[in-house]
């Protein structure tokens, strides 16, 4: 049998002969078993190599964050700092402003994720469950937002926000509330699309029973439909948290300082600036500390909730 083709250097030699069949009495052919063993070893080797390629750079960043600058330059490769330099983190947190980046990001995300979920599922529910003129139009309007490149909207968006800030200062550039609303608007497309298909699959019988019992439309939504949509909400919630945490283009565009006040930067935006500035100051360990602080919280949350995160994100693609 031609089992050879795939793996390089694979089961040439004695291993390949008969297919490892389920022969009665468990007398699998010897050659097949050797081949299987070899293949098992090869799998482990390759998987381990890729695992190292993923983990090693991350570990290197974390360990470099614990070195002195001199050590970063002298022994860039070593994974074991001579003495752990925790003050790199202190420096990045205060002088590198990672602390305030964090605060800004958390403030913005708390509002934006909550509002995205609430408004997104409200819109999706109405669009999925109620028939009214303009329903399709609104749905396709949301859908079209999925394909359009964000760069197209950049300057008009900035202008719109700027003009808004003239009349309503708290919605102007560099304001948390403005960024929250912008994040919500830009996350709605996918959230509505995802939750729409989710609400469609929910059974109608329960909703009808609720109606008979005299629940109002909004009561029905909040106390019956929303709890039933919980798995979908978890998926899209994880998706939005990660997506908005990763946003860098919108904040770079909109959180610009106006009239000399300090920028309310979020973490991604701040990190870009840090990487430029620390390059000028050659504060490499500080930069590594900044990157470490930006990635560790997400990684830890991921490791704790890995099953939910993995299935949540892959469900987002599967639709």
């Amino acid at each position: 049998m031609s089992t050879v083709t795939h793996t390089p250097g694979g089961q040439a030699g004695p291993g390949q002969a008969p297919p490892p069949g389920r022969t009665p009495g468990r007398r699998a052919a010897v050659g097949g078993r050797a081949g299987a063993k070899f293949f098992n070893g090869f799998s482990h080797l390759f998987l381990a190599v890729w695992a190292i390629m993923v983990v090693y750079p991350l570990l290197w960043v974390v360990m470099s964050a614990l070195k002195t600058d001199a050590e970063v330059i002298r022994k860039p490769l070593s994974l074991f700092p001579e003495r752990l330099q925790w003050d790199n983190f202190v420096r990045a947190w205060t002088e590198g402003h990672i602390g305030s980046f964090f605060l800004n990001t958390v403030l913005v995300l708390t509002g934006s994720v909550f509002l995205t979920m609430l408004l997104g599922s409200m819109a999706a529910y109405v669009l999925a469950r109620y028939d009214f003129p303009g329903n399709r139009l609104i749905y396709y309007m949301f859908l079209s937002g999925l394909t359009l490149p964000i760069y197209l909207a950049a300057v008009p968006l900035f202008k719109g926000v700027y003009n808004m800030g003239v009349t309503l200062p708290f919605l102007g550039p560099n304001k948390h509330l403005m960024l929250i609303l912008v994040y919500v608007a830009w996350s709605l497309a996918f959230t509505v699309f995802f939750m729409h298909s989710f609400f469609r699959t929910l059974p109608t019988a329960i909703a009808e029973a609720g109606m008979v019992d005299g629940a109002s439309h909004s009561r029905l939504f909040f106390s019956v439909m929303l709890p039933m949509a919980k798995p979908g909400l978890i998926s899209i919630g994880i998706f939005n948290v990660l997506g908005q945490w990763n946003q860098w283009y919108l904040p770079t565009l909109l959180m610009q300082s106006v009239a000399g006040e300090p920028k309310n930067q979020v973490i991604s935006q701040g990190l870009i600036e840090l990487s430029v500035n620390q390059g000028y100051q050659s504060d490499w360990s500080g930069l590594f500390a900044g990157v470490t602080m930006a990635m560790l919280p997400v990684l830890i949350v991921y490791i704790v909730f890995q099953r939910q995160v993995q299935s949540g994100l892959t469900a987002g693609v599967g639709k």
């Binding site: 482990h44 993923v54 290197w60 960043v61 860039p76 937002g145 008009p156 599967g318």
Partner: protein, 313 residues
């Protein structure tokens, strides 16, 4: 009752639709309008120039470069990521020992899945800044440092990565290095996706195949892969979007955001360059509209060719 429904529907839709119209739809419409003018972006002076901006697209050397670079990513990013992800998923699910219950996944496959997924939860900015340090063009960089240590790269002649516009196989080297990052960060996610799809294939299909004497390679290529077709084509469409949007990497990592000497320009960076550095906003909008049309056509095309009768199981 009817009245109540109308009020409820409006009440629920007003806020989301309002936000969406103001922050998403309106800017897009404005941009489409500006693409017909010669607006610079800062002044109030703008003149209607019709389709002139669009005609200029076809003669712009930079656009042509960016177009081919985008095509390069469009082909290579999905191809390499899916191939690697499938291979990893294959090893994970079929690489284990055989026993009475059939072929098993490798020992520790759960751990591998957790690890491979890491890059997916890191933000693109973190990945870009991290790889900037890995790709440093001196001994302080991770890759150069390792290669120097084992003597594959001379101390005075390091790999220059992001500063290397020399073509390799007809494509500037810097693009290959960016491709590597994209594959590194994407493979784990798609492996988990494929792995989940593989596990949802019912066991009895495999049992039947094994009874018929098929080995693990046969089963994989003749059964698993064809049944994964749907998932793979969805992955392809998604990776296509990612490939069109390599801007974060280009913006953060390459010299002068598209350099060196425009060797890594892509559509997004050309838009950025024209709008914010050359101050030709009308023209930048025209490029962006062209990109939007290109994206929509591409998505429609991909959906059309990948659509096929679904196999139910």
């Amino acid at each position: 009752m009817r009245h109540g429904v109308a009020r409820f529907v409006t009440g629920f839709l007003a806020l989301p639709v309002g936000l969406y119209l103001f922050y998403v739809v309106w800017p897009f419409l404005q941009a489409a309008g500006y693409s017909l003018t010669d607006w610079g972006g800062y002044s109030d002076r703008q003149q209607f120039v019709g389709l002139e901006n669009y005609l200029r697209l076809f003669t712009d050397e930079l656009i042509r470069k960016a177009f081919w670079h985008n095509v390069f990513f469009l082909v290579t990013v999905p191809l390499c990521t899916i191939a690697l992800a499938l291979f990893l998923a294959f090893l994970l699910n079929v690489g284990g020992r055989e026993d009475k219950a059939g072929i098993r996944g490798v020992f520790g496959s759960g751990l591998y899945k957790v690890i491979f997924f890491f890059p997916q939860v890191l933000s693109l900015v973190v990945i870009a800044v991290m790889w900037q340090q890995i790709y440093r063009a001196d001994g302080q960089g991770l890759v150069n440092g390792v290669l120097m240590k084992i003597g594959l790269v001379a101390e005075d002649d390091p790999i220059t990565f992001m500063y290397d516009p020399e073509p390799f196989l007809g494509v500037p080297a810097v693009l290959w290095w960016l491709l590597l990052i994209a594959v590194w960060s994407g493979a784990g996610f798609y492996m988990v996706l494929f792995s989940a799809a593989m596990q949802s294939i019912p066991k009895d299909i495999y049992e039947a195949a094994i009874l018929d004497g098929a080995g693990r390679f046969h089963t994989f290529f003749r059964i698993t892969l064809p049944l994964l077709r749907d998932t793979v084509s969805v992955a392809w469409v998604y990776l296509g979007f990612i490939a069109l949007d390599m801007f974060a990497l280009v913006y953060i990592m390459t010299p002068s955001q598209g350099g060196p000497n425009h060797a890594s320009e892509i559509f997004a960076s050309v838009i950025h360059f024209n709008a914010f550095q050359k101050g030709q906003f009308g023209y930048a909008c025209a490029i962006a509209v062209a990109l939007a049309i290109f994206t929509i056509l591409l998505a429609a095309f991909q959906l059309k060719i990948t659509r096929r009768e679904r196999i139910e199981y």
